[in-house]
């Protein structure tokens, strides 16, 4: 790092002292210049927002124009419980004030209401240009693919993350495109390179070519994702009543993909379908991991996750899968 780099202010040095001791001044500087976009402000993303604001990013842009319901707030600690405050405002507007308080050095703002921009899937490529990381949740399969593809079209690398928590399970998908970073190994700093597939590419990898011990959650999430598309459901708008139809879909998909249906247990699907409320401890864990991954992506330090992360609180298992097209 050259002298030309801006130095951290005295205030930054004092506040960030403990974390500078973890990732260094250089990483802290990069963080403070980074811009993050988040969409879908449920519990896990709210946790993520807190983490990234505390870490000291430059700016955070919130996107979610849903009106507040009790369900939406079940794992939200950014919105004060005062009913008068919550009336008539979008979720993003309501979530905007607390993070400013957590760290006044971060600029936190609400994205223009979607009536001007349309659905997240219809945002144009240029919209994403100003961000270093785009984190989305609570959206359709189409939106995931479309936002991811737009991030990949930009001349400079924009990190893309998708996160979803259902019941006591969580999934994170990471796309850092062509990514180089440094890590310390045996006291030496070595440069590493990783090539990521897009969400579309990753999820098109034939199931039968995946490792035998692939996380069951991966398949289950894909089945439900497809179900939502076929039924034209809003994201995460399913219930236990959907189980028979989902089981039928599972059968079709498993046959088409040549895998055994036992890879996707009924009980797992049922849990994932039935749960509307979030499970706060899982939001904290998954939101914490996501925060660390975005910090790594921005600072260029440490091994990043490639490219799927799964957590299930019922057995405490964390599984990281690298699902890339065999040809690439």
């Amino acid at each position: 790092m050259g002298k030309e780099c801006e130095e951290l202010t005295e205030q930054e040095t004092a506040i960030y002292d403990r974390q500078i001791r973890v990732w260094g001044v250089d990483a802290q500087r990069r963080l403070s210049k980074s811009h993050i976009f988040v969409s879908g402000l449920k519990g896990t993303v709210v946790e993520f927002c807190k983490n990234i604001v505390l870490a000291g990013v430059g700016s955070l842009t919130l996107n979610d124009d849903r009106f507040v319901t009790e369900e939406l707030l079940s794992a939200n600690f950014l919105v004060p419980s005062d009913q008068n405050v919550t009336r008539g405002k979008s979720l993003a507007e309501l979530c905007c004030e607390s993070p400013k308080d957590f760290n006044p050095m971060v600029s936190v703002s609400v994205n223009l209401p979607l009536i001007f921009l349309g659905d997240l899937a219809s945002f144009d490529v240029e919209f994403f240009q100003k961000f270093d990381a785009v984190v989305i949740s609570c959206c359709s399969l189409l939106t995931k693919k479309s936002v991811n593809a737009k991030c990949r079209k930009l001349p400079r690398r924009v990190a893309f993350d998708h996160v979803e928590c259902r019941d006591s399970c969580g999934e994170i998908f990471v796309d850092l495109q062509n990514y180089s970073y440094s890590k310390k190994k045996n006291e030496e700093t070595i440069e590493c390179q990783l090539h990521y597939p897009s969400f579309e590419e990753a999820t098109e990898v034939p199931w039968r070519s995946l490792p035998k011990r692939m996380s069951k959650l991966y398949f289950a999430m894909r089945v439900i994702e497809r179900f939502e598309v076929l039924e034209k459901r809003n994201p995460i708008d399913t219930s236990a009543d959907d189980l028979p139809n989902v089981l039928k879909l599972r059968k079709e998909l498993c046959e088409a993909q040549w895998i055994n249906e036992s890879q996707i247990p009924d009980s797992l699907l049922e849990r994932l379908l039935a749960s509307k409320h979030e499970f706060p401890p899982v939001c904290a864990i998954v939101g914490g991991v996501l925060g660390q991954e975005v910090i790594k992506a921005i600072s260029g330090k440490g091994d990043p996750l490639k490219n799927f992360f799964f957590f299930d609180a019922t057995d405490g298992k964390v599984i990281i899968e690298d699902i890339s097209n065999v040809n690439s």
Partner: protein
Amino acid sequence: MASEEQLAAIKGAKVLMVGAGGIGCELLKTLALSGFEDIHIIDMDTIEVSNLNRQFLFRQKHVGQSKAKVAREAVLKFRPHIRITPYHANVKDPDFNVDFFKQFNVVLNGLDNLDARRHVNRLCLASGVPLVESGTTGFLGQVTVHVKGKTECYECQPKPAPKTYPVCTITSTPSKFVHCIVWAKDLLFTKLFGDKNQDNDLNVRSTDASSSSEHAEDVFERRADEDIEQYGRRIYDHVFGYNIEVALRNEETWKNRNRPRPLYTKDVLPPQPVEQNGNKDKASKTCDPTSVSAMAYLGLKNPQDLWSLKENSEVFLEALKLFFLKREKEIGQLGFDKDDQLAVEFVTSAANIRAASFGIPLHSLFEAKGIAGNIVHAVATTNAIIAGLIVLEAMKVLQNDVKSYRMTYCLEHSSRKMLLMPVEPFEPNKSCYVCSETPLTLEINTHRSKLRDFVEKVVKAKLGMSLPLIMHGVALLYEVGDDLEEDEVANYAANLDKVLSELPSPVTGGTILTVEDLQQELKCSINIKHREEFDEEKEPDEMVLSGWTPALAAEKKTKTSDNGPSSSNASQAVQPEPEDDDELEIILKDPEILSAGNKRKLSDISNTADSEVSRVTGEMQTKSHVEEDDTHTDTIMIDGNSDISKKKRVQ
């Protein structure tokens, strides 16, 4: 989402949180969101600026206020209808006794020091309340579950202790920067600004003791008519020049070591400026004692910069001068404090000058502060993850779902399939002196060691008792408490200064002592074995306690950053600093998990688990465990899914 049974268990539960810091803030938030309605929280600390990067319930305006109270207010804003009871107090206060603990269904620890952790463990054992214990350092962390009779207690396995160094390494033969820090902080700083009467040996050990002792008499005292600049230079020349010359005379010491270079101000700095008054005027412009800074005065701005020997020497003289000019009243009672800017500057410069003399690489103020202040690296994300895991375990405990209990270790990198490592809890250690009643054995010279040594070095330091009572048969040898009669107090005070064999009820080889802490409801027997001689270097306390799980001398390494302290030995300082605001101490028992693997299952490591596991453990263990690790790890059972349930070597 939680099931109906879970929700019922959560709603009816009364939980005690100990600690409202990094983990505590995250934990209180997650508990409240999860539906817990009756939470008590104990924390003696007040909020500091360096907490704000992760303790998100606190704001700049709260600096100086009680953590427990401010945390409560902040959480009530988004969950107003729950009951949070804050205590701005030390968990070791007698008010928090066994009866107090008994009202809770589970105790959740988010503590920052071994002492308090042991105390809470004992009270949980005594009251039969399950304990969920946790800790983080940087990206590493762990959550463990301790339920009496079902799982091991917090003290069943060895714990890391602050590293100590042989006296002569510090006084004569430093080889690492941390040795110079300890010398600067505990010897020089204390000698100049702290208690003058402390018996520390600042003068290099020399075979020729008589010549230096005379010199040492008053060398640190400022002479009546001595100019402050002159005084500073004289101290400098004495500790960095003369003392090194004396040490060099002892040829034996330097046979296999690099010889240090004596440093004198005349060689490092330009001659003393004539117009000292000018300097004094400039220095006296700052008025607030906490903002007095030698760095600022010398125009050194960036605490990350490495200062040259000349700059360090200037900071040394300036800091010393500022103490005498600006903070004279405090001299004689100062102790090192990592939040005292001038003290950090003084210690940094003194350590660096000594390092230069011994050919040890110099360090920046930022790094030196981390080492001297035992500063623990901390980030919000790890604390959030750990807090989530604590709540998951708390829910299992409340439902008495013993089979599902897990200890979970949070790893740094996700390069393989691992990031969180769940492990089945271990059974209680049958020879644990805390949760079983196994007697201890103490080898000690009963004709030389005093009762005071026994109380301080064994009962307090090793057994972690705060209010000990010591009995020999039915005879009381020692006791503390508020309700003692004056003559009893005098009697016990007199006993402290007696050697063991001359106590009213003499303690000799074969004696069995009973040591008890009434508050902790912990009682243990100690078999005394008389021993004449001890190894000065290996057994400096002149006593050896066995049957007790000794602390591993943990040498933690942090390899996260280029700028982080390269030798960030958070646990390496002579004195533990329990008031430190961070979450200390990763539990270093991973080697045991691995080496005793044939009966314990690492239940959830997927098939590619490999270097991450051994790396974490490798990093956290002492050398002696490395070999063990190698020979035993292949016996670990990997409980995979149906298709892979074979033994897997974790290396």
